[in-house]
């Protein structure tokens, strides 16, 4: 049994947003343009939230890369009237674009505000469409979308492993964000494998989860800033 999860080391994250662009490049996320962006329609499956603490001159800033937390008990799932979003047995919070009718209820019920709506159809001025990733469906207007943990990469890796007649290795599957991360702050893997890096990080004393108190069982672990303690951390 596999349960995909992610660990993000906030002590390594410098907020460079390479992951954000990598996500766009991998997942055919549409450009909305300045006007739409000003209307709050910009789409970033992954964003770096920054929070100020204190006032000038002693200000601190916290960065939190926020993406779909692929909750074990996802509030977005039961409210979808057409099963457009549901839970795969690998713990992914899957989004089926062509089932979606666009009630946007899932987005309202997501405490992490990581779901996005296609308010318009996507423009790809020629030859920009040549960059589109053939493994990822382009979304029509009127449907929700969100981070998929790069499910296409998971599929590809699994296929390859199958071809070579072996199990998936830890760290073999890398979402676009994790792969691009200059500081290697993002670790992805199988939580059910106790020896996987992500599993070990999730047991670290620095590990927290976002809005855990809501009982959503997020699959993304955040490692707090500051010195790591030796226990368990790879």
């Amino acid at each position: 049994m596999t349960r995909w999860a992610m660990a993000i080391d906030l002590d390594r994250c410098t907020g460079c947003e390479a992951c954000v662009v990598a996500c766009h490049a991998e997942n055919n996320i549409r450009l909305v343009g300045p006007e739409e962006a000003a209307r709050g329609r910009a789409i970033h499956w992954l964003r770096i939230e920054r929070y100020y603490e204190g006032e000038y001159p002693d200000v601190r800033v916290r960065f939190v890369p926020v993406l779909c937390q692929h909750c074990g008990a996802a509030p977005c799932e039961p409210v979808c009237p057409v099963y457009a979003t549901y839970h795969t047995d690998e713990g992914l919070n899957a989004m089926v674009y062509n089932r979606c009718v666009g009630t946007r209820y899932c987005a309202n019920n997501c405490p992490y505000s990581v779901r996005f709506f296609n308010w318009h159809a996507a423009p790809w001025p020629d030859p920009l469409q040549r960059q589109l990733n053939p493994d990822v469906a382009a979304r029509p207007a009127g449907v929700m979308e969100k981070c998929t943990f790069c499910v296409q990469r998971i599929q590809r890796a699994r296929q390859q492993a199958a071809d070579e007649g072996r199990e998936l290795r830890d760290g073999e599957v890398q979402p676009a964000c994790a792969e691009s991360c200059p500081t290697r702050a993002i670790v992805f893997g199988d939580l059910d494998d106790p020896d996987s890096r992500v599993a070990r990080l999730s047991r670290s004393g620095r590990a927290r989860r976002l809005l855990e108190e809501l009982g959503t069982h997020p699959a993304v672990f955040y490692l707090a800033r500051g010195a790591r303690e030796s226990s368990g951390e790879p």
């Binding site: 907020g15 662009v21 490049a25 020629d126 200059p182």
Partner: protein
Amino acid sequence: MRRRRFLQNSAAAAAAAMLHACARDEVAFIEQAVARSPHGPGESVWRGSVCQQCPAGCGVRVRLVDGDAKKLEGHPAHPVNRGGLCALGQAAVQELYHPDRLRGPWRLSRGQPSGAEPLDWEVALEELAQRLARAARSSPQGVWIGCGSVSWPAQYLWRRLAAALGLPPPVRLRSVEWEVEREAARRLFGLEDWPYFDLERADLVLSFGAPYLERWRSPVHYARALAEQRQEPRSRRGRSIHVEARLSATAAAVDRWIPVRPGGEGWLARAIARELLALGRASERAAAHYRRWFPGPDPPPESLATRCGVPQEAIAELARELAESERPLVLAGGPMAAQRHGLFHVAAALALNVLLGNLGREGGVLRPRRFDLERNLPPAPPLATLAAGLQRLRGQAPQAIVICDADPVHMLPPASGVEQALHGASFVAVMAQFLDDTALLADLCLPLHAPLERFDIVEPEAALHTAAIGVGAPLVEPLGATRHPGDIALALARALEVGEALAWPSVGALVEQVLQDLHRRTAPGGTGDFWSFYEDVLDRGGLWEERPALDGLEAAAPREPIPEPKLDRDASREPSLLLAFETHVRTAEGRGLHLPWIQQLPDLLSTVMWDSWIEMARADARRIGVRTGDRVRVSVEGQAAFEAFVVESPAAAPGVLALPLGGGQRDYGRWARERGVNPLRWLGAGEVEGVGLPAWGPVRARVEAAGPGRAALFGRGLRAPEDRPLRR
């Protein structure tokens, strides 16, 4: 085996067919590449290459599907980026397929939209050749060639061409702060290069202004280094402190931010030096050097404190921390270096390394290592420094100007005189991928290959303690009738009958020759099959030493002292100080802003997309009655300048306005056209003392409300709800 035959064939063919050689050989290469891949249609092929979005020279892996580039990833083994790739690098693939890329030569009429007409390459090259010849005949000094390309073949071949034609060497076109940092390195360490800062192994990093987590040198490399410095094998977590007038993304990411008065960085460094000397941390020799660099009497501590705006005790504590730490390291640079006293700021800060005695030591300042690519090639004089180049530009108006892969009009302040020169020159040719501010002023515009469409070698401009080059091969069919700048030089050489001086049929051939040389030098005893080596290098997208080396670095015997700013009373009546800053994607070069991914990337701190913004303290904003998202009108030194969005920041110092670099291009494609403001147009501030470059930096300014606006902010919230001040 088939590879070798192909290459020989193609080389021969290329040699035979003069002008189109390069193009054909590349197409052939691509066909080969696809044919060689074991995958069928629709399958991904991964090939190595090198990123050219900035001079850092990261190694990349390119995902190709059916001949189209789909995705770039960092090369895990490349010493510069070790698998990471920054936002700009990721976006290179979008640049490749940008709908507004130049796809053929154009005759332009100095910015006038009328009279622009497409040309054939033959015609274009013919004209360029004649113009160059004529100008060279009248006076070699009358030809001004500027080169901003990070491609080594482009630089080498143009240098070579200039030499062959008896023209002055091409000018390295980089933004001012790069040059100032280089000058500081020359004076302190006697380097004709940028020193390498071994951040990863330092246990205390003190940076003055250098936005090393954003765009300085190689953000990817230094960000990774910081992460490791904090964690990987070491037991104790390293500390990092950042000194800057504004809370930059770097300041936010390090452990502690020390705000200084704009223009006070150097004085803080001097104050720390004073403490260190007092603590006796510095060796006699180092102290002596320091005294010769800064002969002036140390101002009293309290005056130093007021000059840098940092309380004395904080300074003392900082000095103590430095003195006590095992491997302290001081970095300096960034926009701060482009100020009038930039050299002073950078030098004063870097000099601390000398006092701390960490030169040439682990976790200290190291001598950069390079493969000497030109050792066994026909010699070519190095690029002229920007300072020298601008000197010449101001001297006598050049007849012909050729710009290769750079946008000096955008990235240098007007005081540089580049724009006037372009207007004055009788002929201007620009090699560019896009119609940027410089290309707009050209008579002749020659379109360039995108990096993924051409053979290339890139040397990390700010080299590491590991010699490395990136090698790129054409992986996709050129989008249009474009060329490698080096191939243009070769074609010109042939047309101008100096072909024997540049005897390579194409850049591909030059790359091959250099690699052969490197193979001889690096491979044990030059053994091993060159073609497998060649293929291996192309597949990995480069060649690099496996492990870093410690090259000694000595403080240079000081010749002249570093010019110190004299305390001039600030006469201006304008209320606030306006300074410009870099972000992860916004640099003086303004590169990347033509890409929607980059434009739509929310700025880390302000979360603004698609435009420039003015960052100011909430109190100041309230005073003029604006709030985040509104428009303000900014006037600089009394005259109306520009409009921009306001973003209130809890971290902004009262009375200080900050404006991001980049933006304000006149064209540069549909997504950058007339978007935002180019601060350099307004922040001109005399000359950088001791360097002779046009300075830009904090200027006195005034803002007033210009009505409500709708800034594109991605996240409006500033604080986590639990931090909200209690309402009573």
